[in-house]
């Protein structure tokens, strides 16, 4: 976890120390690019949590989204259309969606661990790899389904299996 944070700090420091000045005319395009980058970053975080992280996809998505968003804004300027609004809306929606996913995932994980601790099973170490992976899968599944009304009881303690998700119930939104 420390390495990406270090990357952010390093990038900010680089930006502060460098004297590279971006022309004022490009400010709008750059802001769209920043939004796209933020979206890609959150997507990357989500992918990590879902355990299907792919480095080339993240990097290419990061660069392409930023570039295309800026290009879209530029083309919109030429055509006299506020095309950048499309990018803002699209990325905004995705950012909130991703944040919602990450939030639910983390809350689910935290609650499960809390329950396990409360159940008093000190024999199972909380740092166990297999347990962690299982928990992550559960959390991802949970977060995907947007289910917030109930937290499934932790079945893993009993029978070492994933909790059955009630598929027949209608899905609810936030």
């Amino acid at each position: 976890m420390w390495l990406p944070v270090l990357g952010l700090i390093f990038g900010i420091a680089l930006g502060l120390l460098s004297t590279v000045a971006i022309p004022v005319a490009f400010a709008k395009y750059l802001s769209i690019a920043v939004l796209a980058s933020l979206d890609s970053l959150l997507g990357g975080w989500r992918a990590i949590l879902e355990d299907h992280f792919d480095a080339p996809i993240l990097l290419s998505g990061f660069l392409t989204n930023a570039f295309v968003a800026a290009l879209l804004a530029y083309v919109g300027d030429i055509l006299g259309l506020d095309l950048y609004l499309a990018a803002v809306v699209a990325f905004g929606l995705r950012i909130f969606s991703n944040i919602g996913f990450i939030r639910r995932f983390l809350i689910y994980r935290f609650r499960c661990k809390h329950q396990l601790k409360a159940a008093g099973s000190e024999k199972i170490t909380l740092n166990d790899n297999e347990y962690d992976q299982q928990l992550n899968k559960e959390a991802a599944q949970y977060a995907k389904q947007n289910r917030e009304e109930d937290i499934p009881t932790y079945h893993f303690i009993k029978n070492n299996s994933t909790p059955p998700l009630p598929a027949d119930e209608p899905k609810t939104k936030d």
Binding site: I9, G11, I12, S37, F53, F62
Partner: protein
């Protein structure tokens, strides 16, 4: 066997995320700075803001020019003082040089006449004193006898040697022959003052059978006098000034 900590610490997603976050941080800061520049841009200001800005700038400009004028006046004053100081220094230096030349503290040179007295003569120290007095009277500025500068403290006297002869002394030293007297001043005046009929040279020739040779010289060099320091002298003027300042 892999180290458990290392194998769990650096995961495969950390390096790409490091790169992406680094670029993101850089772009974020760049965007922030650009945005600040946009906000500070004059084209984004309203007419009232621009008017206020112009008024502020004008006020600042007026204040700065007033300050500049004040500083210029101060500078002029200082320069004037420096010039006065320089001229005062030069005047004082000139006066000091003149005083040093007059009191015999420095060697001097200039046009004048030389009087050479050779051979045995019946010259006595009184005659020498008269001659020197005559030279000063006729306008000599500096006089020396055998390279001994004549000042207000020079003593011309005589002494008896072991054979009973009278020897002329200057400041206690016996004057040897030939006696060469140098005087700086107007050559013509000096020469005429000595050699006119009935003058001192004429007296020497007729009464004492002494025949001095008077010669005009274009460039005479006269050494400095041996000046002993004044131990008891005090300037009355300076003392009175000091007393006044103490009283104040």
């Amino acid at each position: 066997m892999k180290h458990p900590i290392i194998s769990t610490k650096i995961k495969k997603w950390q390096i790409p995320l490091f790169i992406v976050l680094m670029i993101f941080g850089f772009v974020l800061v760049a965007q922030y700075r650009t945005n600040v520049a946009v906000q500070n841009n004059l084209t984004n200001l309203s007419i009232s803001e621009l008017t206020e800005l112009v008024i502020n700038i004008n006020e600042r400009e007026a204040a700065l020019s007033a300050e500049r004028e004040q500083l210029q006046a101060t500078l002029d004053g200082i320069n004037e003082k420096i010039d006065t100081g320089i001229s005062m220094t030069a005047t004082t230096q000139n006066q000091l040089n003149t005083m040093q030349m007059i009191t015999g503290r420095v060697p001097v040179q200039g046009p004048g006449i030389s009087i050479t007295i050779t051979g045995e003569s019946y010259l006595i120290y009184h005659d020498l004193i008269t001659l020197v007095n005559e030279l000063f009277v006729t306008g000599a500025e500096v006089v020396c006898i055998n390279d001994v500068r004549i000042t207000h403290r020079t003593l011309i006297n005589e002494t008896l040697d072991e054979f009973g002869h009278r020897d002329i002394t200057i400041d206690g030293k016996v004057l040897l022959l030939p006696i060469i007297i140098k005087a700086i001043g107007n050559q013509d005046t000096l020469e005429k003052g000595l050699t006119f009929t009935g003058g001192i040279i004429n007296k020497f020739n007729t009464i004492y059978q002494v025949f001095p040779i008077v010669k005009k010289e274009e460039k005479l060099s006269i050494p400095a006098a041996k000046v002993s320091p004044s131990l008891y002298l005090k300037s009355v003027f300076r003392e009175s000034v000091e007393e006044e300042s103490v009283e104040e």
